[in-house]
Point group: C2
Chain length 459, copies 2
């Protein structure tokens, strides 16, 4: 009996209409990556396990898809390990490769392996799928694309400024106006950790502080105390509770709070320079917002961090994020290479654009003209006509069989073809073809050897 086919959970098929929309976003991002001087690279879908394992924390290690060794893989497992029946111990013995979990670690690996061919500063972009064995939910998949741009080998803050401009350029071009680019700096977070007296409480602190708008100061303090942050630490961090207003007002307040923290003050200085430069140059449709509660998960960030929120009113997590890392390539033996990069979340951008109805209508047209098939002799002539239309650059097709006219028209209609060509016995005798514009129903006649004229007329 035949199988009833399905696909693994968290994965997707993309129909022609969906591919067109995804490509529209990807091409827009790609265009601006290139305008900003980034160059494309590609890395393999799977890496040696040791390249990936241990780079994303314990949770990351668990979510990495491992590939089973080929051949008689069991014969290479020693008896002790085998008899342990322990999945964690067995995994490295039967699996040497794993699917890419993100594009950043493979990029670091690439930079180290190819350091002698690369001219630094190296601006690269990479648009490829990644895989995570995560629990699927709305907007979260087991296979999804990342669109990353990074620059490594220089530590000018102008690079952070450029990434803010790049976000603005892409989202403006996509018609996604009113995005908020949140910015913070890991050094400020380190400064706050110094002030509250414990680095390990920083995450609890920022998570609680982030709820200020929703639950109010009293409840936030309660949560902090519960998490073990002392009364005096909370008191010291009090200026953060009323932090608001413009970026320069917030920075002023942070200067007061972090005066005794060298690293904290360095972070304030960096943010000040980035924000004032961005303000000086101006943005098109996005706004840059300092958010001291922004922390971002991954541990390799050391300077500025970014996260982009969709326009107000759209319920969606961040549609982009990134930051500066000062020693990403160090894990592969290349020290002192500073880098900064951002990522665009293709799937979420797609969902937001669907919700706001921002995809251009023109994406739907898959075929410019369909030539109907009137029979063997006419079909042959139609195929020649279609060949000339294609040479003129039109997306043209001949209905493959001499099916009933009704059926052929129905097909043209379903595919949304704007023009249908009739080339029957009469037309053949007259050395002509007739074009029917589907929307208006109007007809126009062309000489058989003037496919190029028709192509020009409708372009």
């Amino acid at each position: 009996m035949a199988q009833k086919p399905s696909i693994p959970k968290g994965t997707r098929d993309f129909s022609p209409a969906e591919v067109a929309k995804r490509n529209y976003i990807i091409q827009t991002i790609k265009k601006h990556f290139e305008i900003y001087g980034f160059q494309p690279i590609e890395t393999p879908s799977f890496e040696n396990s040791e390249t990936l394992m241990g780079k994303y924390g314990d949770e990351g290690d668990r979510l990495i898809f491992k590939i089973l060794n080929s051949g008689d893989f069991i014969s290479k497992v020693d008896d002790v390990t085998y008899s342990s029946k322990n999945s964690a111990l067995l995994t490295p013995k039967i699996s040497e490769k794993a699917l890419r979990y993100d594009l950043t670690v493979p990029f670091a690996r690439y930079v180290v392996m190819h350091q002698n061919e690369i001219d630094f500063p190296f601006k690269r972009y990479q648009i490829q799928p990644v895989w995570r064995a995560d629990r699927p939910q709305k907007g979260r998949f087991r296979e999804f694309y990342q669109c990353d741009a990074d620059v490594v080998g220089a530590n000018s803050l102008l690079q952070e400024v450029e990434f803010v401009q790049l976000y603005d350029a892409v989202f403006t071009d996509l018609g996604l106006k009113g995005t908020t680019i949140k910015i913070n700096n890991r050094k400020i977070l380190s400064g706050i950790a110094e002030v509250i007296g414990a680095k390990h409480l920083l995450v609890d602190f920022t998570v609680a502080l982030d709820k200020l708008d929703k639950i109010g100061e009293g409840k936030v303090k309660e949560e902090m105390l519960e998490k073990g942050i002392s009364e005096s630490a909370i008191e010291k961090a009090r200026p953060l509770f009323s932090i608001a207003g413009t970026a320069s007002e917030q920075l002023e307040r942070l200067r007061g709070l972090l005066a005794d923290s060298e690293i904290g003050m360095a972070g304030v200085g960096e943010l000040d320079e980035i924000i004032s430069t961005v303000e000086n140059i101006g943005l098109q449709s996005a706004q840059l917002q300092l958010d001291v509660t922004l922390a971002r998960g991954l541990n390799y960030y050391t300077g500025a961090i970014f996260e982009v929120a969709a326009p107000e009113g759209v319920q969606m997590g961040s549609i982009g994020g990134g930051g500066r890392y000062d020693d990403l390539t160090g894990i592969f033996g290349l020290k002192d290479v500073s880098g900064v990069g951002i990522s665009f979340g293709l799937d979420r951008i797609y969902l937001v654009m669907e919700e706001l109805n921002l995809f251009p209508d023109s994406l739907d047209t898959s075929l410019d003209v369909l030539c109907l098939n009137f029979g063997e002799k006419e079909g042959l002539e139609a195929l020649k006509l279609v060949a000339s239309m294609r040479k003129a650059g039109l997306r043209a097709d001949l209905y493959p069989t001499a099916a009933k006219m009704q059926k052929q028209f129905k097909y043209a209609d379903k595919r949304g073809v704007p023009y249908v060509v009739l080339l029957g016995e009469e037309e053949l005798k007259a050395g002509a073809f007739v074009v029917k514009e589907m929307k208006s129903g109007q007809h126009k006649t062309y000489a058989l050897d003037t496919a190029a004229v028709f192509a020009k007329d409708i372009s």
Copy 2:
């Protein structure tokens, strides 16, 4: 200690220059796919194992990359299987998913799953990577792209004609002139099998016959006898030994040979129609050649089969292939859907184009203009200038730090930037920027607010 990074054997990193060349080929193929009315779909990188296993023969099953189940996968293995220590028995218990092995089986799965959304005939193309645990060698990788176009849901031979035209259009556009599109028909091979009296000897027969040019008739017969093909069968198939000349001459001879084989004669009729129609319409740079020794490996072909050979003088296996299959979707429960499709071998086309030096020079330029960095104040103005250049569509970049001029020029040189912009203290005072054309060394001055004029000048 830091790891010395490497990538799995049979996989590759692609540098910016390589990505540009690969994209050039892909974009050309894609353009013609769309001109021919094909629509893109994408399927997941991994499928449920039962979708793939058993579809490519035993060898294929072995070469499919399996993905290890997540979590405590061992706990789900029953004791009997575990204690067998048998890799083949254990695999289905610890692995439920596998990486795509080709694009054809996933396409068949897609058609069956989405049959109610699809308007037949359905012309789809798909350009995605596939993975095979094959022994890597020149031009053969463990991760490589396939570029497939198929049409399902109609059985007109005009579709075969279109695929020949499509091959011709793509290779002509790539500048790859003088390719040979070999064509045969599985029905003719079945007919020959009838004539020589044994279907299971067909492969041995065609493999031996294929060597005729190299080793001569005597040695070919020797090989056939060795393989168990009888003297009388060889005698019956004698017309095949001297088959040559034009397609119609060859078809004539086949008609004689296969007169008693209904299926063989059907194959001859189909080939005749396809070849005469192609000749009637004409090809641009490829030639169509009937090759009765062409068999192609995969078993799902039932009608015409294709294979494309690189221009004479280039040592390379086939750079494309395909054929008609009458029941591919049957394995997933959808009967009587005829299909035909072709594939382009990206990696081999790449190697051939490198060898013949066919990539356009213009692909190498990654940046139109680099703005040098003279210091903090000038850098800020330069960033504004770069922003206007980018808005004008130029790929423009600012050197991120005020490094020594020599270093900045060296970087521009290495990246092959055609224009360098100087915006120092003097230029700033004069409200101007200076453009140096790197090749000629000539300078030209523009007003600071006329980035668009400069963009127009160099485009």
